[in-house]
């Protein structure tokens, strides 16, 4: 029987092949069949998670909450030095220089990435903006968020900071950052489902030394990660509690 691995749909498309390399690496380390299933959208992935079709997942912090508290998953690893941070940007020629100058009625370009969207909305609060007085335009990728700003089809855009940093200079130079979050304790994590608990000791042993050998290092690089770090149960719970305080009701 093969297990199913999946990845939060918010990773940069440039690193898709990296996840296939990781999947191959994983099968060798665990000596079992693992199938990598990628999704374009969060909703479809969540439905499969709820239907127990996922055994191992690299999840965004928002989904980690459901996975741990409702589905019995355990977070075992997080990427080193890769916190999830959010950037709010405007067109470089925009007269706006701070969030507080933004006015009700603006259009926000955003993705369906739950963390970035939530954090973006929180960073608009100092301007008295919320779901009731901004128009959100949900698009598929951060490149499209940027294009909306450049074409004047949106006033502000929300970006995952990593994705923003990876945009081409040509695009980045036409935008201006109003605010960039500095939370540092909210990040993606690798979670193991109830069906794969027996593999945890072996998985931990291999993951945490992965960056020390040439092959492992190459795989990490192709995923744009440096190394895996252990994540304790309490760190996971803390992160989930923190996310809970941010969810807008």
């Amino acid at each position: 029987m093969a297990y199913n691995l999946t990845v939060s749909p918010d990773f940069a498309p440039d690193h898709i092949s990296g996840w296939y390399f990781f999947n191959t690496w994983l099968q060798r380390q665990l000596d079992v069949g693992v199938h990598l299933e990628l999704y374009d959208c969060f909703e479809q992935q969540r439905e499969d998670i709820r239907n127990n079709k996922v055994d191992l997942i690299y999840a965004n912090p928002y989904d980690a909450s459901m996975l741990v508290r409702e589905m019995g998953f355990r977070a075992i690893a997080r990427p080193q030095a890769r916190p999830d941070e959010t950037v709010i940007a405007v067109h470089v020629d925009s007269p706006i220089n701070t969030v507080e100058e933004l006015q009700a009625g603006i259009t926000v370009a955003t993705t369906d990435d739950p963390d970035v969207h939530t954090m973006g909305m929180i960073m608009l609060e100092p301007a008295d903006l919320d779901g009731s007085n901004v128009t959100t335009k949900e698009v598929d990728t951060y490149v499209i968020v940027a294009k909306n700003l450049l074409k004047g089809e949106a006033d502000v855009g929300f970006f995952l900071k990593d994705a923003f940093d990876e945009l081409s200079d040509l695009i980045k130079n036409q935008m201006k950052v109003l605010v960039s979050s500095q939370i540092s304790v909210v990040h993606h994590s690798l979670l193991v489902g109830p069906t794969m608990q027996e593999f945890i000791p072996r998985l931990e042993e291999r993951l945490f030394s992965m960056h020390k050998d040439e092959k492992g290092k190459g795989v990490l690089q192709s995923m744009n990660l440096e190394a895996w770090e252990p994540m304790s149960e309490e760190e996971t719970e803390f992160m989930i509690d923190l996310i809970d305080t941010l969810v807008i009701e």
Binding site: V99, E100, I122, M123, E125, P126, A127, D128, V179, S180, S181, Q182, I183, S184, V185, E237, F238, D241, L242, D244, T245, L246
Partner: protein
């Protein structure tokens, strides 16, 4: 900066719920909330601080060592009405999430406003403490809160 800022100093005795008190120097000067940051702390079930992130340390003006192990009321500003905190404790002790605007007192006597959310931390069905996460409030909410709290004193 708030309209209420005068930069003036005054000595105020703050009485805490547990019968203790201290004389604090209060300076009417607001320190702006840092953009993009969350101020995070955790307490045990009694409100004793067990964790503070760097933004908390920076904004409070205390060192981490001065914060860990003391009651969260170390940040209590005398302009905050007691009923606000009574509501906080009633809510979280009932296992629910609390939101509110809080004026906090820094070690140097100046203050900063936050929009705070406090939630109970449940582990294996048991309450082990509380987490508070603060974010930047809007000027209009600060003004509203200043006016409201003045009537509740």
């Amino acid at each position: 900066m708030s309209d209420q800022d005068t930069g003036e100093c005054r000595e105020v005795t703050i009485n805490y719920f547990d019968g203790t008190s201290r004389v604090a120097t209060i300076v009417d000067r607001e320190v702006p909330y840092p953009d993009g940051k969350l101020i995070v702390s955790r307490t045990d079930s009694k409100g004793i601080i067990t964790h503070a992130n760097q933004a908390f340390v920076d904004m409070s003006g205390y060192t981490r060592d001065e914060l860990i192990g003391v009651n969260h009321y170390i940040l209590r500003h005398p302009d905050m009405p007691a009923v606000a905190f009574a509501g906080l404790w009633e809510t979280i002790e009932a296992g629910k999430k609390w939101h509110g605007y809080v004026k906090n007192l820094r070690k140097d006597g100046s203050y900063y406003w936050v929009k705070a959310t406090v939630i109970p931390n449940i582990r294996n069905g048991k309450l082990v403490g509380y987490t508070s996460v603060r974010r930047k409030p809007s000027r209009s909410k600060i003004k509203e809160s200043e006016e409201l709290y003045a009537t509740l004193m």
